[in-house]
């Protein structure tokens, strides 16, 4: 330090004392590294604290200049330097404080896109300084959304749960005792063993964010139980069903970057399932000239970036899609050859008399059939006759979208040819009853344009997602848990998870051990008060184990709360269909990896994680081994090491085996770098299997080997029963959905169609599904940088509606649904369709108690509430205190400047199980919307359980149960996917013989 600086410092210090005005930080803090906190095999940090980072004498070296074609600077540290990378500190600049890092790739856990992250782990004390993008990740390509960097907030969340907790006192009373992992494992395993001995449907693993492919499913299979429950039915079930009936695969994978026209029925530039990878490629496609069409009643960010925004009335989307299809059909703008080769048109023609409703058309087709073998031209004629009613004018009328926009959309689709990339994940499919027909009608456009699996077209997920096989796969279990897939919904995609409380209430069963895994069912599902009832009921849910990295409302009602790792604290393997190629990505505990690189022996990941945070991959091994210590249940053997017979497998061995044996091309790529396959994945975190995989259904496959005959050539085809694209679905017909509106792509009236909403009588449509691009479902409240940007969810309202109700931005409004009401503020905007109000998802988190030594749900970012109930079945929630500043180990929590942290709207949603797909149809009829009465406060919620029960019954009654309609005595068409398929025998309905004819 120069003498001048020294004298300044001294003067400063003297004056500070003199004036007594100096802020606490007047002295630059000594940032020399603390002594290493690592001691062999000792857990690193038992208490949560904010990290300090070491500084080193070394200086960053200028990187080798890489001249990019576009003249850009070199962006990332080259992987050859990832073991020891020195970088200046940004906060202290221009004071040159250098840190020495180990750069460890991992995979983001804040949505399901599985983008790459690169953790900067300080080599002096193994604190994680930050997360940047992993340039070696083929899907995210080094880039991230706002949620990627915020992983750091989660890691150093001052309210983290650091130790296993066990409930003391009644459920939900908020009294916890810290226990050891051994105790937790022992007690839970004992309950599981006891349940498994008695039955095969007593253990339920209910997953919100899986963040991995197959690992836990294998564990459940090893237990031999029907134990997989998911959140799919409130997420993507309807869209999946629509795609599945066509093709057998249940999700689309558009090749956005090369598309000519991109049609989105959702908000993929801000919140699509694979937001960052998709957004990159949509923008890339648009920059290369693609036009974007977006259907959304709300001006989403995506709609704002689109070339054509179609603000359609919810439930009318299929009508618009069919009007576009009709335009292609009537003007012969479709891909004749593709349709002829790949659509099951012969079958359609044969069955047409059974479903065509128009009498003239039916007589015509009957005559054609009687005249002999019908030909493709007959099918074309049939299409023309069937869809002629879907004119632009009709679509405009039903959707309230300007007719010229619909026409333009049709022209853009026609121009796209085989370069039409479409997506629908949630949005209209999940909002409306019959929403599954939306994705079916959307794929119809791909079929007509022949844009399936083409350059710039739309793929199916199964072509681009790769799930490698583990070392030994347990056989299918022979069990059927009625609480997962009950009789009423044989086509459910998938488990009817959001109805669990209703099922329990009806006495359909009970659960011995209920795991919630990064899942907050009472908060995220509709009709949350029912969940509170169910979770409180120790008779029905006998043991609830919450596996979660952060507190959540449901964990409050658990018996055990087990802290699990965030993105940089666990091993997982993931792959997603994010573009035309195929890849896998490895999630890693980054501190562990950094320590191991330095030669520090770590046996188990929790030794390197904060506190006693575990990773599930290790937890499941330990739990399963403890569940079957002597192997008598046949479970233990699935957890024996393939490398060390007789000993329990380690997580490292599990993935090592996969990388060595199940990922084509990986061992060779590793060898080329002088690495083991595991070493390669540890170093790069991702591997690309292929860069494109166009039209795999066209590949040759002899019909004798299961191929399908197309023009006399055997080809792979699709995974439907006919191996063709099923325009006409014999499955729907066979299972009781015989009407024209079900068996072919058609439009079904939604529960919130224009006819259902009495706008003159003051009714409106509540659109509750939209998401904000920077929030993480139910885990944002412990990520400060995300809440700083968005923390509340006012009711979006069109100025005309606001004027009618006499409210303005900031005023309180009372929104009443079929089952209750909420009070929230208003956001008046021209960006919403008149007649529709919208409230964003994610916000309105709450807690019933303050702080405590075991953490909380973002104390400054959730509301302290009081829950109350009365004998009449009324349930209430009232906010006692909103968000605000508070003191913690993180000085930032004292700087929270916002108050409104949202309203928990899902509580007032009635359950709406779609009769076909089983999906919860999210849109709500707002039977009354008015200015809040004096005395009402923001966040006030009241629900009538009797009304919620009535809504449930009303929807259940629309279903067509397997026990009545099954054509073959089974519970579900065997060819339809299930996350975990049991044996064929388990498919049989109770007391039914195979081949029993349908009534």
């Amino acid at each position: 330090m120069s003498s001048r600086a020294e004298s300044l410092r001294r003067t400063e210090s003297f004056l500070a004392k003199l004036l007594r005005l100096a802020p606490a930080t007047s002295q630059p803090q000594d940032r020399r590294p603390a002594a290493s906190t690592i001691e062999a095999a000792q857990p690193l940090s038992r208490q949560m604290h904010q990290p300090e980072y070491g500084q080193v004498d070394a200086k960053p070296v200028d990187m080798t200049t890489v001249t990019h074609p576009d003249g850009r600077m070199t962006q990332y540290p080259p992987p050859s330097h990832w073991d020891d990378w020195v970088q200046w500190d940004g906060k202290h600049w221009p004071t040159k404080v250098a840190h020495r890092y180990a750069l460890v790739p991992t995979t983001c856990f804040n949505c399901e896109a599985a983008c790459g992250l690169l953790a900067y782990v300080d080599k002096s004390n193994y604190e994680i300084r930050k997360f940047e993008g992993n340039p070696a990740h083929p899907s995210s390509r080094g880039r991230n959304c706002a949620k990627g960097p915020a992983t750091h907030n989660q890691t150093y969340d001052p309210e983290r749960i650091l130790h296993p907790l066990k409930r003391v006192g009644p459920r939900g009373s908020g009294k916890w005792a810290r226990i050891s992992w051994d105790e937790a494992l022992e007690e839970i395993a004992e309950r599981m063993r006891e349940s498994r001995k008695r039955r095969l449907d007593g253990i339920m693993y209910h997953v919100g964010r899986p963040g991995e492919d197959h690992y836990t499913n294998r564990v459940i299979s090893a237990w031999g139980v029907d134990g997989h429950n998911s959140h799919t039915n409130i997420c993507s079930a309807a869209a999946r069903a629509g795609y599945a009936f066509w093709s057998g695969a249940d999700r689309p994978s558009p090749d956005f970057a090369r598309a000519k026209t991109i049609l989105l029925i959702s908000a993929h530039l801000e919140s699509g399932h694979y937001f960052n990878p998709h957004a990159q490629r949509i923008v890339e496609g648009q920059a290369a000239g693609a036009k974007i069409i977006t259907f959304d009643p709300r001006l989403s960010n995506t709609a704002a970036r689109s070339d054509l925004w179609l603000p359609s009335w919810p439930g009318s989307e299929a009508v618009i899609l069919l009007a576009i299809a009709n335009h292609l059909i009537q003007h012969n703008l479709y891909n004749r050859d593709f349709v002829r080769r790949w659509v099951n048109w012969e079958q359609t023609l044969r069955e047409a008399p059974s479903f065509v409703e128009d009498e003239a058309t039916r007589s015509w087709i009957e005559a054609r059939l009687a005249a002999g073998d019908p030909c493709f031209e007959d099918f074309e004629e049939l299409l023309k006759k069937l869809y002629a009613e879907y004119t632009f004018e009709r679509a405009a009328q039903e959707s309230e979208v300007p007719v010229d926009r619909i026409q333009q959309a049709a022209e853009l689709v026609a121009e796209a040819g085989t370069r039409l990339a479409c997506h629908n994940w949630r949005a209209a499919a999940m909002g409306n009853r019959g929403g599954w027909q939306v994705s079916r009608c959307l794929l119809f456009l791909n079929v007509l344009t022949g844009s399936l699996g083409t350059r710039g077209g739309t793929f199916m997920n199964s072509w681009n997602k790769f799930v490698p096989k583990p070392f030994a796969q347990p056989p299918a279990f022979e069990a059927w848990n009625e609480l997962h897939l009950p009789d009423e919904w044989p086509f459910a995609h998938y488990e009817m998870s959001f109805l669990l409380p209703h099922f329990l209430d009806e006495g359909r069963g009970d659960v011995d051990v209920y795991f919630t895994r990064v899942y907050n069912p009472l908060w995220i599902n509709p009709d949350g008060f029912r969940w509170i009832e169910a979770l409180r009921d120790e008779e029905k849910i006998k043991c609830h184990v919450a596996l979660t990295p952060t507190w959540n409302e449901s964990a409050w009602f658990a018996d055990y709360v087990l802290p699990m790792g965030h993105a940089g604290e666990r091993h997982d393997l993931m792959s997603q269909e994010t573009y035309a190629g195929t890849w896998i990505a490895f999630r890693q505990p980054v501190r562990r990896v950094a320590m191991e690189r330095d030669g520090i022996a770590i046996n188990r990941t929790y030794e390197a994680n904060p506190g006693e945070v575990w990773e599930e991959a290790e937890f499941w091994i330990d739990l399963s081994v403890k569940m079957d210590p002597d192997g008598s249940l046949g479970i233990r053997k699935w957890f024996d090491s393939p490398y060390r017979p007789g000993e329990a497998i380690t997580v490292e061995e599990y993935f090592r085996w996969i990388f060595e044996n199940s990922v084509p091309g990986l061992p060779e790529a590793a060898e080329a770098e002088g690495l083991t396959p595991l070493g390669y994945m540890r170093k790069y975190g991702a591997f690309e299997l292929n860069t494109e995989n166009y039209a795999p259904y066209e590949q040759l496959k002899a019909t004798s080997l299961g191929g399908v005959d197309v023009d006399g050539v055997g080809r792979v085809g699709f995974t439907t029963p006919s191996k063709k694209l099923e325009f006409f679905s014999p499955t729907l017909r066979d299972w009781g959905w015989k009407e024209q509106a079900y068996v072919i792509p058609w439009h079904l009236p939604s529960h919130v169609s224009r006819d259902e909403i009495d706008r003159g009588g003051g009714e409106m449509l509540l659109l509750p599904t939209f998401r904000l691009p920077n929030l993480i479902h139910t885990r944002s409240a412990n990520a400060k940088w995300l809440y700083e940007i968005s923390h509340k969810n006012p009711v979006w309202m069109h100025p005309e509606d606001a004027q009618r109700l006499g409210v303005d931005t900031g005023d309180l409004v009372h929104v009443e649904t079929e089952i209750g009401f909420m009070v929230d503020t208003v956001w008046v905007t021209e960006g919403i369709k008149p007649g529709v109000i919208a409230v964003s998802h994610h916000l309105g988190r709450w807690r019933t108690q303050d702080g405590g030594e075991h953490g909380n749900i973002g104390s400054g970012m959730s509301s302290l509430v009081e829950l109350s109930s009365d004998a009449e079945g009324l349930r209430r929630l009232r906010i006692e205190r909103s968000g605000g500043p508070w003191q913690s180990t993180d000085p930032d929590t004292a700087r929270i400047f916002w108050e409104d942290v949202g309203v928990h709207q899902n509580l007032i949603h009635g359950v709406h199980p779609d009769p076909v797909s089983g999906a919860h149809c999210w849109h709500q009829k707002a039977i009354a919307v008015r200015k809040a009465a004096p005395g009402q406060r923001r966040g006030d919620i009241e629900v009538d359980l009797a009304k919620s029960q009535a809504v449930y019954r009303q929807w259940v009654d629309m279903a067509r149960p397997a026990s009545v309609y099954s054509p073959d005595g089974t519970r579900r068409p065997y060819w339809l996917k299930r996350p975990l398929k049991p044996t064929k025998k388990a498919y049989l309905l109770p007391g039914r013989d195979p081949e029993e004819p349908a009534p």
Partner: protein, 542 residues
């Protein structure tokens, strides 16, 4: 010579806020302050509605006013064109925040020093791109050397239609927007202090929520919608710029800025005016021989001025976020800054005055024999000139505040001299009640005070607020004072209490009236300065 800059391509930006959190992460930016953020606005009439995003941050101006005004050189322009700051040198005077026409600078709550986007200099210096560039999913941010014709940014710049924020400030911003939206670029197009954002709370507006414009029927009686204030100032028929179309233009999200300067600054202006004015007036009167020299008057005047200069210094130091570092102004001055120059004037004036006063007082008390008669004219000349400098320099400091157009007023040097003379006269008029002034001086002071009050009234009403203002931003601030939130302080405080009442009291020659007049003038000036300092700071620059 390198010249780093940014292009934000709004044709690619999807408003995801990844840049915002990546910056927080890279630079450990605390909650509540922002180096970069994504402003978002909504415009149009359904279904022709649009949302516009704008990544907003330091423009790394080629001609950076923040660097000019910084008294210690903490804010500096590097050879590569990046405007960096050095937290170790910053005293927290917040002058840079007043100088920045873009609201890009904040006070870091952890260090209490100014901070802003430093272009990730710590990364760029070793060949890496800024964190926001790397994270952006849409490659909407291009960073690089504008001077290098082969760089992506230079090549893009050479063919793209770009725009910058507030080019009229002459700062030569080096952050260029492709497809910039005027609603985002011009912060005064939308409501100044929104009640709320779409998914975030807005900081409460000072003085409570502004009243809303409610619907007015069309001429034919039909309902007409006015969804938002559209650039209309509150309370008044003035229409200053902004959009006149009857459609929505509202802010969905924006970073929020707190006002940097508070009561200390108007207080400093008042005490400084008294301290300087007393000797401006005394020197003038005695040098022109309008009154005969009295030692007792000099001692009284010196005591008053020294007390006021002490208070002036105290207010200045109190306003610093790092008061412990106030000596940095002298120890590491940046001489282009009028803060540094002004400090020299303040210290020089106080020192000379102290010396003169000390000698006179010691002589008067007979402690030592001092005869200043010979050099007195020289002393008086020097003190008068220094006093004038002390009075005037703030005009040049305010002139360096490019972010506050109202302060950049050519009339200001004259006005400050006038105010100082008026305050000097008021202080001496108070002394008259103690009988310190001889009759000649008393009459000079009385006439000076009276004419200054009238002249000041003239300058304020016909100059400052009677004339049109050169920029919309200045006009808005002026309107806030004369017809907006500060109108009571202005009319009641500055005009009635500060001018009308003292003028009336001047006609009465009782000690109580004299003391009263002096107090009212002082209170009036504080009221005026308070409005003058606060109002422009509330006009948003981003």
């Amino acid at each position: 010579m390198q010249s780093y800059g940014f292009i934000i391509n709004n044709e690619r930006c999807i408003g995801c806020h990844a840049c915002s959190t990546a910056c927080k992460s890279e630079n450990s930016v605390p909650l509540g302050v922002h180096r970069t953020w994504v402003k978002s606005t909504e415009t149009g009439i359904y279904p022709d509605t649009q949302r516009h995003f704008q990544v907003t941050r330091c423009n790394h101006c080629d001609n950076p006013p923040c660097v000019r005004i910084c008294p210690t050189g903490a804010m500096r322009q590097m050879d590569n064109g990046i405007v960096e700051f050095d937290g170790n040198a910053c005293i927290g005077c917040k002058a840079c925040m007043q100088a920045c026409p873009y609201d890009s600078i904040y006070i870091d709550p952890e260090t209490n020093t100014a901070a802003k986007c430093h272009y990730c200099s710590h990364r760029v210096s070793v060949g890496m791109e800024p964190a926001c560039v790397v994270v952006c999913p849409a490659h909407a941010i291009i960073a690089g050397d504008i001077a290098d014709p082969d760089s992506e940014i230079a090549r893009t710049l050479s063919r793209a239609k770009v725009t910058v924020r507030k080019p009229e400030q002459g700062t030569a911003p080096k952050l260029f927007y492709i497809a910039g939206s005027d609603v985002n670029l011009h912060p005064t197009v939308t409501e100044r202090r929104p009640l709320t954002f779409a998914a975030a709370d807005a900081l409460p507006a000072p003085g409570g929520a502004p009243p809303r414009e409610h619907d007015q029927p069309r001429a034919n009686g039909d309902a007409r919608r006015l969804p938002q204030l559209q650039g209309l100032p509150e309370h008044g028929p003035l229409r200053l710029g902004g959009r006149q179309a009857q459609h929505m233009a509202q802010v969905g999200y924006n970073a929020q800025h707190r006002v940097p300067w508070h009561w200390q600054v108007p207080a400093y202006l008042v005490t400084k005016a008294i301290g300087a004015g007393v000797w401006m007036l005394l020197a003038l009167a005695w040098l022109l021989d309008l009154a005969s020299y009295e030692t007792s008057t000099a001692i009284y005047g010196g005591a008053v001025a020294l007390l006021m200069m002490t208070l002036t210094t105290a207010f200045l130091v109190l306003d610093l976020e790092r008061p412990d570092r106030f000596l940095y102004i002298l120890l590491r001055p940046q001489w282009r800054s009028w803060l540094a120059r002004g400090s020299v004037l303040l210290i020089g004036y106080s020192t000379l005055l102290g010396l003169y006063w000390g000698l006179e007082t010691l002589g008067h008390l007979g402690v030592m024999s001092v005869d200043l008669t010979t050099y007195r004219p020289a002393w008086l000349l020097v003190l008068g000139l220094f006093g004038t400098g002390v009075a005037i320099y703030t005009a040049f400091l305010f002139g360096q505040a490019e972010g506050r157009d109202l302060w950049q007023n050519p009339l200001l040097p004259i006005h400050l001299v006038l105010q100082a003379t008026m305050m000097g006269a008021a202080a001496l008029w108070m002394a008259e009640s103690f009988g310190v002034l001889n009759s000649e001086l008393s009459s000079v002071v009385r006439w000076t005070l009276g004419s200054c009050l009238l002249a000041d009234l003239f300058v304020i009403l016909l100059g400052e607020f009677g004339m049109s203002h050169a920029s919309e931003v200045a006009a808005r601030a002026a309107h806030e004072i004369s017809g907006g939130r500060f109108r009571h302080i202005f009319w009641g405080g500055a005009i009635v209490v500060g001018h009308a009442l003292p003028l009336l009291l001047l006609t009465v020659a009782t000690p109580a009236a004299q003391i009263g007049a002096a107090i009212f003038v002082t209170a009036g000036l504080y009221a005026y300065e308070y409005a003058f300092v606060m109002a422009p700071q509330e006009i948003p620059n981003a």
